[in-house]
């Protein structure tokens, strides 16, 4: 397994991304990953806060129209995330924090889908206040995204492959 990861990590493409000074290499891939994070978490947080009663005039039916933008951000990050993992495959995959981040993202996406069925698909969307189940989902979503950002940011500071090690 380790040989396989090492093989990926030392492939021509991965070495180029890791070591080139080009703006399309490491710095650019990480930039896209950060912008994507802002888009995904930003839109998700708006939906969550609206469900919790912030900005009450904002119609949830309108917020749903931002879902495609959120998913563009998500796939941007899935794509750049795979590259960022591949170029440091041996160290990132040995870092427990990496799996914590993936779990948070997985939970956040499941929660997002549940918000879709329970809030956007509810027959009384924008006519009745969100249910307490919807509010619970919104709180969970905020917690999971905050967890994803925190564990993602800390990948640079803790465990194998971080600045300290």
């Amino acid at each position: 397994m380790m040989d396989f990861l090492l093989h990926i990590e030392q492939s021509g493409f991965c070495s180029w991304v890791r070591e080139s000074d080009s703006l399309f290499a490491y710095s650019g891939v990480l930039l896209v990953h950060t912008i994507g994070m802002g888009v995904v978490v930003g839109i998700a947080a708006c939906i969550d806060l609206r469900i919790l009663g912030f900005a009450p005039a904002l119609r949830l039916a309108g917020m749903e129209k931002f879902s495609p933008v959120l998913w563009v951000g998500f796939w941007m990050n899935a794509f750049t995330g795979v590259i960022l993992t591949a170029i440091h495959a041996t160290s990132k995959l040995a870092n427990p924090d990496f799996y914590i981040k993936l779990i948070f993202i997985g939970l956040a996406i499941v929660t997002l889908q549940m918000i879709k069925t329970n809030v956007f698909r509810a027959p009384l969307v924008d006519k009745a206040p969100p249910s307490s189940k919807a509010k619970l989902l919104a709180v969970l979503s905020l917690i999971f995204w905050t967890g994803a950002i925190t564990s993602g940011r800390l990948l640079a500071y803790v465990g194998p492959g971080s600045a300290g090690n």
Partner: protein, 312 residues
């Protein structure tokens, strides 16, 4: 023109801007002129934004001056400490001024309380800023130093709030990663507003969202910005030598541009004509598109500091 020149160009805005704003504010309060009050709130907010650029240009000026004969390290350190205290108060004043401007569009009893807070903060800020400016002026003007100050200028730098924070960050390894994490959370909050408000102006979800509804979201973006200003200045004060040069300064210029940009949505009546199903006017679309460019630009400059700049 060099870095020290930029600091000299910018360093009159904070004190003079606040003197003008405070004068108008007091006249507006006594004369019960809502227009004057509003004008002074705008001046406080924009002066606070420009002061961000002023404050960070001080590090460049320090780099440019540090080996100059006759320039006292103790004086520069004292100026840095005084400027940081004044800067903090000014940003808090700018924040509350923005909140007051935001409340103007809403029926709220909070507005008058907020004005009282702004009045107290602006007086304190003006005094602190005048103090910081005076110490800053003395760095290159020995003729305005008192004899006690002249004697102190040869001594070792005394500890200040800035130097104490630097020491704290150096000896506590948790601080930097924590601030980085909060910086990214603030970024997401700011992007939440940039993405929804500005993309709606450009047409996404327009059948369901009026501008009046989107306006309620703006404080979320301001709160995100505030988190990032707090954590950003924590980075800056801890390691000012990292944040010299054009890329970081461009980031600060873009932040100032972002402050002007948001005022379009706060002060002008034009965006308020945008109801559900309405296409936004062309000016609103232009301002919305430029907001996206500005804030992605801020992110770009910050992100590229380790790669294109001289940080880390």
């Amino acid at each position: 023109m060099n870095a020290a020149h930029i600091h000299l160009l910018l360093n009159h805005f904070p004190t003079i801007g606040f003197a003008v704003g405070l004068g108008l504010f007091v006249v507006g309060l006594f004369g019960r002129s809502d227009e004057l009050k509003k004008a002074s709130l705008v001046i406080f907010f924009l002066t606070a934004a420009m002061t961000i650029a002023t404050y960070v240009s001080g590090s460049d000026a320090h780099e440019a001056l540090k080996d100059t004969p006759g320039v006292s390290a103790a004086m520069i350190s004292a100026h840095e400490g005084a400027a940081l205290v004044a800067f903090i108060f000014m940003q808090v004043t700018g924040f509350f001024s923005w909140i007051a401007l935001w409340l103007l569009r809403r029926v709220s009893r909070l507005y008058n309380w907020n004005l009282a807070v702004v009045l107290v903060l602006s007086v304190v800020t003006f005094v602190l800023m005048a103090r910081a400016s005076t110490i800053g002026g003395e760095i290159r003007h020995p003729e305005i130093q008192s004899s006690a100050e002249a004697a102190a200028s040869g001594a070792d730098p005394a500890p200040t709030i800035a130097s104490s924070w630097r020491l704290y960050v150096q000896s506590n390894s948790y601080v930097w990663p924590t601030c980085e994490t909060v910086h990214f959370i603030g970024l997401s909050m700011l992007f939440a507003v940039v993405m929804t408000v500005d993309l709606r102006m450009l047409g996404i979800g327009k059948n369901f969202l009026s501008f009046a509804a989107l306006y309620q979201l703006l404080p979320l973006g301001m709160l995100g910005f505030a988190l990032n200003l707090i954590t950003g200045i924590m980075f800056f004060v801890a390691t000012p030598q990292q944040y010299v040069g054009g890329l970081f300064f461009l980031k600060m210029i873009l932040v100032v541009a972002g402050a002007f940009n948001v005022l379009y949505f706060m002060l002008l009546d034009e965006p308020w004509t945008v109801g559900e199903r309405d296409d936004a006017p062309i000016t609103a679309k232009f301002v919305a598109a430029s907001a996206i460019v500005i804030w992605v630009g801020v992110l770009f400059c910050g992100h590229m500091l380790p790669f294109l700049g001289n940080s880390f």
